[in-house]
Amino acid sequence: MPWWIRKTIAWVLLGSPALYATYLIATNDLGANPLETLTDHTGQWTLRFLLLGLLITPLRHLTGWVSLIRYRRLIGLFAAFYATTHMALWLFIDQQLDWLLLLEDVLDRPYITLGFMGWLLLLPLVATSTKGMIKKLGASWRKLHRAVYIIPVLGVVHYTMSLKADFSLPILYAVILALLLSFRVWMRQAR
């Protein structure tokens, strides 16, 4: 299969949660509390794509499917896209750009502080995701992009703290994340 077809398929798959949300908005089918529906939707897909991004390296090792690496950047960029939408919903629709309220939220509410930090950490990764930047930064690019290990931790803790009961989903994410991170530790020690 030519690369452009593969790439198109990846775009469609990674973009499908956004397409689905757009469909729900267009058909006015977001339920009684549309903001809550969209906030949850974008938050969930941010976490899932962050985890999917971390899955690429172990999968390559286990399956020998080396070209998988070519999808990793796209997955990361889509995770950042959903995270940014998640942020924008909070910023523009929930808080309606009320700066005092925003500041209070970020400073006083630890789960928002952590979520906000996670989003901030994504920004330099997005900015340095181009081929040119990778070449330019060289070894420090790798160092910088180690933030992908911290960001999902912040995300999962942020999600857990935002709930009041029934932690089954964040626990599932935490277990997957723990497995993905321990694979790295194991690889390091094996080397």
Binding site: I25, N28, L30, G31, A32, N33, P34, L35, E36, L38, I93, Q96, L101, E104, D105, R109, Y111, M161, S162, K164, A165, D166
Partner: protein
């Protein structure tokens, strides 16, 4: 030992109306009269019935909340918390198909002279049902306006003759693993339990609800009998009640036990006391779409005139 015997004509301390209530009732009646005059309400101003459950028999209009515009029936009955059916907002409607609200008996016990049981059919037979439109404010900072059918909680409580030790009232929800799939997992410490101080319970605005939009309550809204205390956060208004108990000490309530720093016993709607994870100064109205207005939350959910006296002298930042 002093043995107190009571003549039937004796007035029990629980029957004495505190003066501020007495004054308050007058002000409620006055306000109600004024509102009727102001809005020129027709004699019969019930909300258009919705849904296909049996109608509430002989439903009267109370005039309360006549100026509020109710949230759509579909939202009222599809978006709520009722963890006995699952933790998602749409779970109660989705997972309550097996729920049966008949036969249904509520047992009333504890510090009262006439403990006993009452069936839901008797409640319909013995107690007049009226429609009241109340604001509903969830602790999660969303809000609705709902036309409930029912009657003042005090009407039912008095039938069981609470004694002078009855300082609080405790309520319990049914636990049934077959009909309520959410209770198969120990997400909360079932049965769900809530409580009110006796003066709060006896307040005329405290309501036992049998219906919504003129028809019997759907399972997801707490069929066949639930509490509605409009000046408190929604979680106080316990659903599908099977037990009412008069007690002397402040009872442990479900959410307070889960997270005391987030959910207090009083749980009065209070824009000045934030939830640790969000502000309570604002709420979002359900049913207004993605760009729903964010409204300022009112003290006691807008029922200050009626209930503020109950909490005179209390530090509401401490007793939240």
């Amino acid at each position: 030992m002093i043995i107190k015997t009571r003549k039937t004509s004796d007035v029990r301390s629980s029957e004495i109306t505190p003066e501020h209530f007495f004054q308050q009732r007058r002000s409620i009646i006055k306000a109600a009269m004024a509102s009727i005059a102001a809005w020129q309400l027709p004699a019969h101003a019930l909300v258009e019935p919705q849904g296909n459950l049996p109608a509430i028999p002989n439903l009267k209009d109370s005039g309360i909340g006549g100026g509020l515009s109710p949230t759509e029936y579909k939202h009222v009955t599809s978006y709520n918390n009722f963890y006995e059916f699952g933790t998602g907002k749409d779970d109660p409607k989705k997972n309550s198909g097996a729920f049966k609200s008949r036969p249904w008996t509520i047992s009333v016990e504890g510090e009262c002279d006439a403990p006993g049981e009452i069936g839901i059919e008797d409640i319909f037979k013995l107690i007049d049902q009226e429609e009241r439109v109340y604001r509903f404010r969830c602790v999660e900072a969303w809000a609705m306006v709902v036309p409930w059918a029912g009657f003042s909680l005090a009407t039912l409580l008095k039938r069981f003759k609470p004694n002078s030790n009855a300082k609080y009232v405790v309520f319990e929800t049914l636990v049934d693993k077959e009909m309520m799939p959410g209770t198969r997992r120990k997400i909360l410490d079932w049965p769900y339990q809530e409580g009110l101080r006796i003066d709060e319970a006896m307040h005329p605005l405290s309501m036992l609800v049998t219906g919504v939009y003129g028809k019997e309550l759907p399972a997801q809204n707490g069929a066949p009998l639930r509490l509605m205390v409009p000046w408190k956060y929604g979680f106080k208004s316990i659903k599908s009640i099977v037990k009412i108990k008069f007690v002397e000490k402040q009872p442990a309530t479900t959410w307070e036990t889960m997270a005391a720093d987030e959910y207090g016993f009083y749980a009065n709607v209070n824009p000045m006391v934030d939830h640790p994870r969000w502000t309570q100064a604002f709420h979002r109205n359900i049913g207004e779409g993605l760009f729903a207005s964010r409204d300022e939350t009112l003290m006691f959910n807008g029922y200050s005139d009626e209930v503020a006296d109950l909490y005179r002298g209390m530090d509401l930042t401490k007793f939240y």
